[in-house]
Subunit: 94 residues, 10 copies
């Protein structure tokens, strides 16, 4: 089942830059792993922000919650999940 | 350039069912054509509604407007366009 | 997978009362059938309104969309679907 | 009388992890007790968040307030209560 | 149990003035009856509008729904119900 | 003239509990005094929150402002005031 | 007591232009009368709209409601009333 | 003085197409005239909609209102005006 | 040109009371000066809050911005400016 | 492709004034450079605030994101980007 997930990361302005760099690297590695296992399918940046919109795949919302809460930046994230149904005109079916 | 586009179609309840069926078929054909030319990349149904979220590709917002206004149901549509930037962790780059 | 679904039905004030009564009966029968098949688990009335909140069970959002769009009053409905994950403290697990 | 209650817990990012773990355990125990006495009937996780939606039973809003304010995490909670009326098509009556 | 209920009545501008006058009279009579039985305790007009805020008493939200849906103008009403808990500083206890 | 006033008190989680207890007692005493002088007529708790809705009486908004700003917790309060007109169906007139 | 009142008038596009002209004249005359009696003190146009913001004077919200509901365009109006308190730095006191 | 003005035009779906074409032509001519007199400086289309954002120049909001209400489609328009102050980093000053 | 300006001042609860008193006095003096030069015409208190609504006069939004940013409390202020057009029924013209 | 971009800068009230002055100068220099390269075309101040609205030019949202994130005040900025399509009545085409 596919979900469109909007994520905003709020890192404190006076936060430790080294810790931030570590987390960015960890986040990137984690995203790669989730992509490899088919959980993360696409990821876009909302321009001008530290927000992204992602296309995620999971059996259900419970599995999706486990995946999202495994992200290194999770404690700094505000997340909104929208469950998507398939559409008859989806090019993926052509 | 990619856009995430949310479209709600409001067809009058007492609208002509035959006209509606014609438009649904035309919309499906148009979507197929736009998919073939790479403009429409993915399309999801927002469950319980006549709303969809689509991943669209266009040179810019002007071209996107021409594409969207060519949809048979366009006069009955309420559309919100969000321009997306690429994300370093997008699986498409892996 | 469970969903919490908010449904508002807008029936025109000058609508045909007989047609309305037929649909109410059909809606009730359909709800019974959906309950029997385990799709509809609970249903509450938002007091003072023609809105309900329902607890629904479906494999995914695609199946849920098929179920909801099969409701007799569907064309008059405004629906908002929220996918729910399980909670460790859910009494259902006790 | 049944209530649908949405609860968001905001724990400070730099909060004491041990204190947090204690509170999580206490919250779980308290939820169990409230389930046993029939006050808490169901509990769902809003995926990607530290929000839950719960189905609660209480004589009235005054009793519900006492129950909710007895939750260990109450000082960190933002709570929205919706009183629910019964619905003729509620499967619970079948 | 007490509820604060906000009600907006939307009567069509080209509606039948005689029918409106009948309904206004019926609404007033019904309000009197509900006041006599203790269901309606106070009623205020939101200035400049056809909105009122009422203090209502009912065993629970189900009974309140029956009362509200018995109001003659109910089909033209948009209603929002808020369940209230008692407050230790409520003058009614002094 | 009557006003419906919604008040939310935001006390810092790490605030001094003794100071809080003092203020709660002072608030209660002040409410009693305002009730005695007819300024505060009713007070309800919004369940699950530190919000109340109050029915207040004052000559005008200027006097109401003086009354509200005299409340011990005023610096921690977010307040919304709605001026109410009388309603012909108000049970108080029966 | 002073109120800031925002009024939007929604006249149907296919409404009778003569009736509209009559009402505009009546509205102007009524505004003059209300200004003469000190009820209407100032009136501004929200540019690009058929909305105005007015400074009104009335003993209380009940009197204000009677005044506003006496406006010829009242049935086509959406009105929001805000009661104002005096301010120590108001130039009117200088 | 410059204003950023957002305009949405709502033309009825079953409106007369000839009348619409006439108005579109008249709107285009009027825009040309307003551009020539320096009132209309720039105009953008919000993609997927019949909304535009315009950069307008007028002595004040009163003049702007006269200009906007002179647009042929004005009766079908919903307009929001934002007055802009100059900015020290505006390239126009370079 | 006239503007209606809504200003909310957020002073930290643990802010220095002496500094606050100084600023209040400075604000009052500044308001007097602005009133004397015709920039500030009226000022109302939103009851129960540290918000005011003011009627301001300035050549344009640029001059208004200079005036507002000269207020002693400006760094603690959240400000919303609405440009007003004249209204034919404004009592000021009678 | 053109974008209308709304930017709010939130600088802490107790922030270092020297650091702020440095950043203001750097921001001004950076704006000049971006104007020279045609990325920044116009910039307006929202009166009474530290918000601006800018007209920006970029190949796509990805390039725009790189430009915006290069602004010295970027970490203190809340940014909303709207992609604009061309409009047939845009004076720029005359």
């Amino acid at each position: 089942m596919e979900f469109l997930v909007e994520v905003e990361t709020r890192w404190p302005i006076d936060g430790d830059p080294h810790r931030k760099a570590e987390l960015v690297a960890a986040e990137s590695a984690r995203a790669g792993a989730l992509a490899a296992q088919g959980a993360l399918k696409r990821l876009w940046r909302v321009p001008g922000t530290w927000k992204n919109v992602g296309l995620w795949q999971a059996t259900d919302a419970t599995e999706l919650h486990q995946i999202l809460s495994s992200l290194p930046f999770f404690p700094w994230m505000t997340i909104e999940v929208r469950a998507m149904a398939t559409h008859p005109n989806d090019p993926i079916n052509l």
